[in-house]
Symmetry: C2
Subunit: 467 residues, 2 copies
């Protein structure tokens, strides 16, 4: 291993000191690896200090539960079953409160159900005499375990009760089979259940009371931050594409994490479902609507990914055609970015988006689009090289697409604001001024469509694309 | 629950039979739910019969291990520790061989390591007398559990050894703490280890010998199928966009699953890493290269998603401008689709892509693009409505982007073919004919670039976009 990664220094005469030297090299290398590892670990901790807190919480829970073994009175009460308490803490304690609750509840309920079924199966099999009993029990275990394992493939069960089914299989096999030997099964079950409850309760209490990490809150932040990342790209895109600013590429590329956020969002929403009300979030907060906004945001990110392709391919200097449409194009991009940032902010602050400045930005975005349309109509009459204009036109078309998507996101956020009863904004800037007619310029809201005027909006912003 | 989902039949007089009726309704509803569930479960089984086989395999493994309890001689040998064998089977047996091996190895090694450390800690703490011992042990457990929990946040550890760290925490706590009570710790450890080995070996043998599901093979198929899904879209896109065929929408939309395939691909590649050689795959098959192809395929899928947006927005009849460019555009789309299908097939059959028909299709794709370029140059001189032409031009530009992406995918597959030593094609059609000059028309391969001529290809296919 050391040889592979250590090229020998060139043009040095070999000496008799090779072995000690190699030893020194390898020891310095080990030092290097350890230092590297420490730096990496430190950065992980600094990135999100809640990870360090979580580690301390788990250590605390396990040390507390270990007291079961240390302290004589408790030990007499629980006996060796106390190790089930440790086992429960180790497997149930998860990073977020929701995940811990999910696993804890699953474990508790599945143990109860499988324990009862196991005792039932054992008693039932006992009716048939000692010869038939093991065969009958074997068949029962085979059938139930097979069915339970298969049920783990059903999406609804997999999503919320996967761990419960696993524990069901485990407990049922253990109880029904160990019953064949141990006569004091009820007493054992009682002890095991009480230790599992003790372990589970320790987890849940520590998880919820000591610096809790709520899956719901994380989902809420993630959705808002994803919007912000896309907004950053859009705000920076114009400058980068028309070579105004020498780009802050890493900040522009941060949107890429949004492309693959589906799995994280879904698991957070699943865990949030188990959480009790906390902070600004009530017990049945509309987490599904967050998933909806997340999906729409991702849709938008796909379009941004297509847009990003044109950044990589831009030439040294902007073409004549680019210069002609620079102004409205840059405005479109930056204004839709600002609107998106406002939408993200309205989620973050749990304010109703209708009062935010996003509508103003969308309005000026629309104006820029009309301007662009006018320029294109006068300019494109054969003045420019076709191979030069095509990618630029594609960029404007994709930008318009993105504006449409942001419209849909805005509607979804309004729906969320309604469901989760976000505060109405106290922003007097908008209340005093006449509200921008952006959302209503297709006529009055359609009552049959729940008061929304999605169509009118779509038609307005798509006019450039559709004609 | 029943009330919520059963609207009462309108304008029917209430009778005295309400209660029996409601009972009948609810019982028919329960029947309905059960039938629904059964249909769903059946479809899951029919979709992939390996799921049923897996369920039977797990049931078989657990029933076999239960024999430890049934048969007297085995029971005397292992005692109550036999339940650890059942526990091991339940938690270790996973769907794919790779996942089972990963969990089994992690469990075995972590148990050994933590067991040894636990015994060491217990002996060390014993040196300080009975008063200091529990305090010292508590501190040791706290520190080690905290550090181990934190290490689970480090990506490299999380990816391959997450379960091992969990088992390490569990075993270390159990051994070091239970040692405080149980003097026969070495004997216990021996028994527990042997039962865990017995359970793990049962899992691994059944998993590998009875209808094995290899993660590597699944990854291989998934990557090939994803390419095929994108190809289907591209082949169908032209007909749909120019209203030639009334679309087979569901088949076109199948590409959407590719957008979110990252998590699946990565977990399959992780599990494949643990797998021994099987079938056509050697022990160190280049699984990483599959991830690379998967990432490029997803990139392509993002562009297809942008393209798909234009399908939803198409008007009743094609515009004049669309009619003008219909022929080359349809050809580009269908030919790039065919090329992609060939690439997918070459992965599926493990044949070198250079011998496949994909190069021919790419060649005719290129011709269609040049044709389009010529038409656009003559046609666009102010003859058409600008708002009508913009989306059409954007479509052609995105199509060209997709062609570039397919080029890159083709290169990545060639790299895979080299690393995994795919068979050279026996396709005489290509060997006899002069090979298409598509891959070489930018000059001879650049030796400094490993013989690849990526740049020349990129320049050729991007000429429409860049000019």
């Amino acid at each position: 291993m050391e040889n592979a990664s250590s090229p020998s220094p060139p043009q040095k005469p070999t000496t008799l000191l090779t072995f000690p030297k190699a030893l020194a090299t390898s020891s310095s290398k080990i030092k290097h690896v350890i230092v590297d590892f420490a730096i990496k670990a430190k950065s992980i901790g600094v990135d999100d200090p809640r990870r360090i807190v979580h580690s301390l919480k788990v250590a605390l829970a396990i040390t507390l539960v270990s007291m079961v073994y240390y302290l004589q009175p408790l030990y007499n009460g629980m006996g060796d079953a106390g190790m089930w308490a440790i086992l429960t803490v180790v497997v149930v304690f998860e990073y977020t409160v929701g995940a811990t609750l999910c696993k804890g509840m699953n474990r508790g309920l599945a143990t109860l159900l499988a324990g009862a079924l196991g005792i039932g199966a054992e008693s039932f099999a006992s009716l048939f005499g000692t010869t038939a009993k093991p065969i009958l029990l074997g068949c029962l275990v085979f059938v139930l375990v097979g069915a339970a394992t298969f049920s783990r493939f059903i999406p609804n069960i997999k999503r919320r009760y996967d761990y419960g089914v696993l524990i069901f299989i485990l407990t049922f096999s253990l109880v029904s089979v160990s019953g064949y030997r141990v006569e004091r099964i009820i007493e054992l079950a009682h002890k095991r259940l009480s230790t599992i409850l003790f372990g589970g309760a320790t987890c849940i209490i520590i998880s919820m009371c000591v610096c809790p990490v709520w899956a719901g809150e994380d989902l809420h932040q993630l959705i808002a931050e994803n919007l912000e990342k896309l907004a950053n790209f859009l705000e920076g895109f114009g400058g980068e594409y028309f070579r105004i600013t020498e780009g802050d590429k890493p900040s522009l590329a941060s949107y890429k994490s949004v492309l693959n956020s589906k799995a994280t969002e879904e698991s957070l929403a699943n865990f949030a479902w188990w959480e009790v009300g906390h902070g600004k979030f009530l017990f049945r907060h509309p987490w599904k609507q967050y998933l909806m906004i997340g999906a729409l945001t991702r849709q938008c990110a796909y379009h941004i990914e297509a847009l990003n392709g044109y950044l990589d391919r831009k030439t040294e200097a902007p073409s004549e055609f680019q210069k002609t449409i620079k102004e409205p194009c840059m405005k479109m991009s930056s204004e839709v970015g600002k609107a998106m940032k406002e939408l993200g902010l309205s989620i973050k602050l749990m304010m109703h988006p209708s009062g935010s400045a996003s509508a103003i930005h969308m309005e000026s975005c629309k104006k820029a689009k009309e301007e662009l349309n006018t320029i294109l109509q006068t300019v494109m009459v054969g003045e420019h090289d076709i191979s030069e204009t095509i990618p630029v036109i594609a960029v404007t078309s994709i930008l318009v697409d993105i504006i449409n998507r942001v419209e849909t996101i805005s509607e979804a956020i309004e729906e969320l604001a309604k469901q989760a009863q976000f505060k109405k904004s106290k922003n007097t800037k908008l209340d005093k001024k006449e509200k921008p007619n952006f959302l209503n310029d297709g006529g009055p809201p359609d009552p049959a469509n729940g008061g929304k005027n999605r169509e009118s909006v779509a038609i307005t912003v798509a006019s450039l694309n559709k004609g």
